[in-house]
Symmetry: C2
Subunit: 300 residues, 2 copies
């Protein structure tokens, strides 16, 4: 149980965390700050936060838990701005989609207080953003990846673990590097491909006509292309090295299919599609299988 949540960034992710904490009775009071005063005001009117703070630092004042839910590129400046009030007792987390850079930012910004910071990435979200889409159940039933380092206080990692479990999440621990490699493959590259797919179509003479004919397969395939461009600009830049590795592998897999197609090798083509189809048909979101990846699934 926490007394006061200091929420920095009252968007979809931060707002949903505040609502979930309130709904489960894990926090008494939420003090919120967003860069845009109108967002903070809206968050208060929507009941997502109880009190508006005029600055990130003021949102942290008196808090025993702090969530930094800002674009990953803003993490370092945000942590620097609050460093002054961080205590060893305070649990600080982020919700960023990349972790190696966030861990480095936190070390530079928080220095001797970095042990309070537990890097976190909840595998939830939406192509829509903004506090008006905040949802107390956004994290319920989802995975959360924690990427503590040797500098992170063990008891803070435990507190973070119990907190996310109380919100209905399955908690997995990974190194920041393993996290970034995995998410380049299963999240960041799919976003890049979906963005590129849209740009490829709208760049054509008949692009608008083509779009008017697209059906449910296209709808689902491109859903993530509607994601926030600024947020994804930061994620892609931050994780570009892992992304380039994944993109090269993807191009090879694409090349294999296209070669079979162009050469009219029906059996090779069918074999390649069967591999993909069976893998996807057997996949279940959130199924437990992380033993090999230097990870530690955390027992509830």
């Amino acid at each position: 149980m926490f007394e006061q949540l200091g929420l920095i960034g009252c968007g979809l992710m931060g707002g949903s965390f505040a609502l979930a904490m309130k709904k489960t009775g894990l926090v008494k009071r939420v003090v919120g700050y967003s860069k845009s005063p109108s967002t903070t005001d809206r968050a208060r009117r929507l009941g997502v936060i109880d009190v508006e703070a005029p600055s990130a630092l003021m949102a942290v004042s008196g808090a025993d838990i702090v969530l930094v839910a800002v674009p990953v590129a803003a993490t370092e400046a945000t942590l620097k701005a609050i460093k002054h009030l961080v205590t060893p007792q305070m649990l600080i987390m982020d919700v960023g989609s990349t972790k190696a850079d966030v861990v480095q930012s936190a070390q530079r910004a928080l220095r001797d207080q970095v042990g309070s910071f537990v890097p976190a990435h909840p595998i939830a979200g939406s192509e829509v953003s903004g506090v008006e889409h905040a949802d107390a159940d956004l994290y319920n039933g989802r995975q959360i990846i924690l990427t503590p380092t040797e500098l992170t206080h063990t008891d803070q990692v435990e507190r973070a673990t119990h907190l996310w479990q109380a919100l209905g999440c399955r908690v997995t621990r990974l190194s920041p590097q393993a996290h970034d490699g995995a998410f380049a493959a299963v999240s960041h590259l799919p976003h890049v491909l979906a963005f590129a797919m849209m740009n490829s179509i709208i760049g054509q003479d008949h692009g608008d006509d083509f779009l008017s004919l697209a059906g449910p397969g296209f709808r689902d395939f491109t859903r993530i292309a509607a994601s926030d461009p600024k947020m994804w600009r930061d994620i892609l830049l931050s994780n570009r090295h892992e992304l380039i590795v994944q993109s090269r592998r993807f191009r090879q897999a694409l090349h294999d299919i296209e070669q079979a197609m162009e050469k009219g090798h029906a059996q090779s083509l069918e074999d390649l599609l069967t591999l993909a189809s069976e893998a996807r048909a057997h996949w279940r979101m959130g199924a437990q299988k992380t033993a090999k990846l230097r990870s530690s699934p955390v027992d509830p």
Copy 2:
């Protein structure tokens, strides 16, 4: 109103058509045939068809409407097998995802009776297949593309149009070539990319671990990768020329994003993502916009 539907291919698409025709009272009796006798038997037991036919030809006997719902590569052989019983009064349609090859197959197979054949592509379907997934509402609210040629009887095109409208579809007419270009872009290439994405991941050392971490974005992006490999082998081979054109355009769009990323050009990257994001956010499935594409949206 039709007396008897001859259904050749009792899978998801054919079965759903039979159920929709019955539900709306557009047909009195359905005689069905599938290559696999167990499928035909299952279709009858599920009430999708009323009578099992021992051959495609026998399914056509006595029918005033015929739906050929087989993989596109089997269209020609199927039409040849039934040619003997085709009459000018009979409305014959397919549901294939490619149209230029289907039109050619139909001309070769049906010859002087090709005027009865109205090539059709309903923009519906699912990553699941089989008669057990047949659904009377699969086509309701969806688009259907008809691609008649100068050989197609005008009155058959009219009958096909009214029939699909009665099933709740919006009917659009395109040339077979325009159809194949558009669907290479908005359907066939997305399938190829989703297949390649799965193969790229499972081909890696930690592929299984990566998959266990994937979330809802990945789920939707790769849904179509679970599609039937044989069916898609045929579609990709059949439309490979248009597909290669679209793939080249896509690779350029991907290259543009990756270049901005690798060079750290934050503004260019943001601009490219904004283009994609806005296009996708404004897109609505089935929104009317086909004026430029030598197409004729048909008034209900």
